[in-house]
Amino acid sequence: MTQIVPLNKETYRDLKVDSRASAAFDSRRFVQVIVKEFPLLLVHYPILFSKDPQTGQFFCGAMLGFDEDENLFLEDWQKRDFYRPLYLQRGPFYGNGPELAIDLDDPRVGADSGKPLFTDQGTPTRYLQSIIWAFQDLTSGTQMTKIFIARMLELKLIEPVDVEVEFDDGSMRRCVGLYTIDQDVLSRLPDSVVVELFRRGYMRLIHYMIASLKQVPIMARKKNSRLLKGTEGLASAVG
């Protein structure tokens, strides 16, 4: 169940929230992202388009694994300073217009080991401040990402891509429903459109997406060594 309430410092002054990545909440192979995150994502994750199964609308996402509920980066998030996408960083928080809301029934809320939200003076802690900023980014960023996608569609720059990987244990994974930039169409764009895309900052995003595909074989190697070790990773064991 969920019990989402507006967050205020009077009622929830002593509330703590567990902000760490966990198998229970971060085990997913694809997570929605916004264009602002692309430079941070590109160094670890393939950035692709996919469709919302409920609406069919495109969104941008980072690929985290090959199997359902598989996150090959969970350990990295827990042990190293690896960039974790905002949609997961947000934890049990929700946007409520310009205000924040929190799901009191979320198991991460109220944990003793969690981080406090407010200082003794009643001001937001660094953690809460990071969540506030994350929501500011998500609110504007989701809209900016939609506009970016709409332009890509108009220019017919989105094409389906089959991510197919064969592992050393003989198994295969075929991830469907993923889309990327059509480089043939890109190379044939008229000059005026190229300039437009460049000025809007889209050309950069396009190249981030193309370059990020190189992360697929790196992820595959990671998965491969897990398969061979027979320790199929923390994530899928728990998922």
């Binding site: 469709k51 919302d52 609406t55 069919g56 609308q57 495109f58 569609l153």
Partner: protein, 481 residues
């Protein structure tokens, strides 16, 4: 006129209404619209379009309460590798031919859509065509053609057709827009056939002796609630002097009785329709003059649509001929007047062939009946009303079930052999088969059968209902990729 460098002017009477029957299309409509650059999402939003996954024919064979079969739009699985008919004939259960070879009948039974909200525009999961509001479709296409494809649209009534000495049409004279000259004239003037018939004197070849239905009563039926289930098959229910179509659009149903006026009176027909609908609704009477022009292209005039011919709206055959004719014309647009007669000759051959096959195929639905309860059905099996070619094929099919390679000698056959299979074996046609017929193809057949079972299980669990998907498309649209 030079290839690729011509301009098109559409002269349309501001007063003559469109006929407004034929609210079902063929799957070819998807390619036709995509080629024209129409957005499928726009089609759904502006034409009250819905999915059509085939036809369900109720009461055509025996007239009993449980008498029904599907003519789905998907080909049988493995159709190019193996003829499943002999395997079906020797089946050990009582599965219908449709369910034996394709999941589509089951998808229709469950009221499911042929695709997902994540499927791109025009891309099927299960093959589909459209049900649509013809009254909205015509202006929708007109707008697309004038705004995107550069067609000039003149609203005017043609009063006179001017011929040159050669017999070619030089120009048409209009009441509102003066004289409009042209090098090639496409007669889309409907039943009146102003150019091909009246001006050029091409005769009409009726086929009322084969297909008896000559009148339609068309009605529109509201839903009880906006979210009533919507079948995605055209339901054609046999009556004592014809059949009733039942088509679900998102906003209403289109229901109409197509009947033979030689076999029933208008009053009785209206009562039959009312009884089917369950309430008294106004029904518009539409004459159907079954048949087609003796030729379709004469001199510099081509007839497309009703000017070329019309048949009862069974199997959406009139609308597909419009598409096929338009495509043929676009692909073979003569480079100059000099070669036009050669192109015309070929066009006439192909189009005459197609009309013949459509008439045969429609007659097939009647000739296989076992109903004897009314003169209409008894007269329909009278051998003098059956075209010779069809008679021969029926004789052949008793021993050689139709398939991929045989009988169908034209590249663009209107109805594929699969359609004949669905109707023949849906109506219980008896072909002889012996155990030897299926030995060599046992492996391919069992693969195809497994594939059908796998698809059936998967699609029944994955596909949304027809109504839900249409609601979503109207809200969110389909993506172009």
């Amino acid at each position: 006129m030079k290839a690729g460098g011509f301009s098109i002017t559409l002269v349309e009477s501001p007063d003559i209404k469109i006929i407004g029957v034929g609210e079902g299309t063929w799957p070819t409509m998807r390619q036709s619209l995509e080629r024209m650059g129409v957005s499928e999402t726009d089609l759904f939003k502006h034409c009250d379009a819905a999915f059509k996954q085939g036809g369900k024919f109720a009461g055509w064979t025996t007239g009993a309460a449980d008498d029904a079969y599907y003519h789905p739009l998907m080909l049988p699985n493995g159709f190019a590798q193996v003829n499943l008919v002999p395997h079906w004939l020797r089946r050990t259960n009582n599965q219908s031919f449709c369910d034996f070879v394709t999941p589509q009948g089951r998808i229709c039974d469950d009221g499911l859509a042929p695709k997902l909200i994540t499927s791109p525009e025009y891309k099927p999961v299960a093959n589909y065509a459209y049900h649509l509001d013809a009254g909205k479709f015509a202006p929708f296409l007109a707008q697309h053609c004038t705004q995107k494809l550069g067609v000039r649209h003149v609203l005017a009534d043609i009063t006179e057709v001017n011929l040159a000495e050669s017999g070619d049409i030089r120009s048409v004279l209009t009441k509102q827009a003066g004289e409009i000259p042209g090098e090639l004239f496409i007669d889309c003037s409907g039943f009146s056939a102003l150019l091909i018939g009246k001006a050029l004197g091409v005769g009409f070849k009726g086929c009322g002796d084969i297909l008896f239905c000559d009148t339609a009563l068309a009605s529109q039926v509201p839903y009880e609630t906006p979210n009533d289930p919507m079948p995605s098959q055209t339901i054609a229910t046999a009556q004592d002097a014809g059949w009733i179509w039942d088509i679900c659009l998102p906003t209403r149903r289109g229901v109409g009785y197509v009947y033979s006026s030689r076999h029933t009176s208008e009053d009785a027909a209206r009562q039959t329709l009312q009884k089917y609908i369950g309430s008294e609704l106004p029904a518009r009477k539409i004459p159907i003059r079954s048949g087609h022009r003796e030729i379709f292209w004469k001199n510099n005039c081509v007839a497309v649509g009703l000017a070329g011919g019309f048949l009862e709206p069974l199997e959406s055959s009139a609308i597909v001929l419009v598409e096929l004719s338009a495509k043929l014309l676009a692909e073979q647009m003569p480079a100059n007047r000099h070669v036009m007669d050669i192109v015309a000759k070929r066009f006439n051959e192909v189009t005459t062939y197609r009309w013949g096959r459509i008439i045969d195929f429609l007659k097939l639905h009647y000739v296989l009946t076992r109903r004897t309860d009314s003169p209409f059905w008894r007269d329909n099996v009278d051998p003098v009303t059956v075209p010779d070619r069809l008679k021969e094929l029926l004789e052949l099919w008793k021993f050689h079930p139709p398939w991929f390679f045989d009988e169908f000698d034209r590249l663009e056959e209107v109805f594929p052999a699969a359609s004949y299979q669905y109707v023949l074996y849906g109506m219980g046609f008896e072909s002889e088969s012996s155990p030897e017929d299926i030995i060599d193809t046992g492996l391919q057949a069992s693969r195809a059968r497994q594939e059908t079972e796998r698809q059936t299980a998967e699609l029944l669990s994955r596909l949304p209902t027809n109504r839900d998907l249409l609601n979503k498309i109207r809200e969110f649209g389909l993506q172009p990729v």
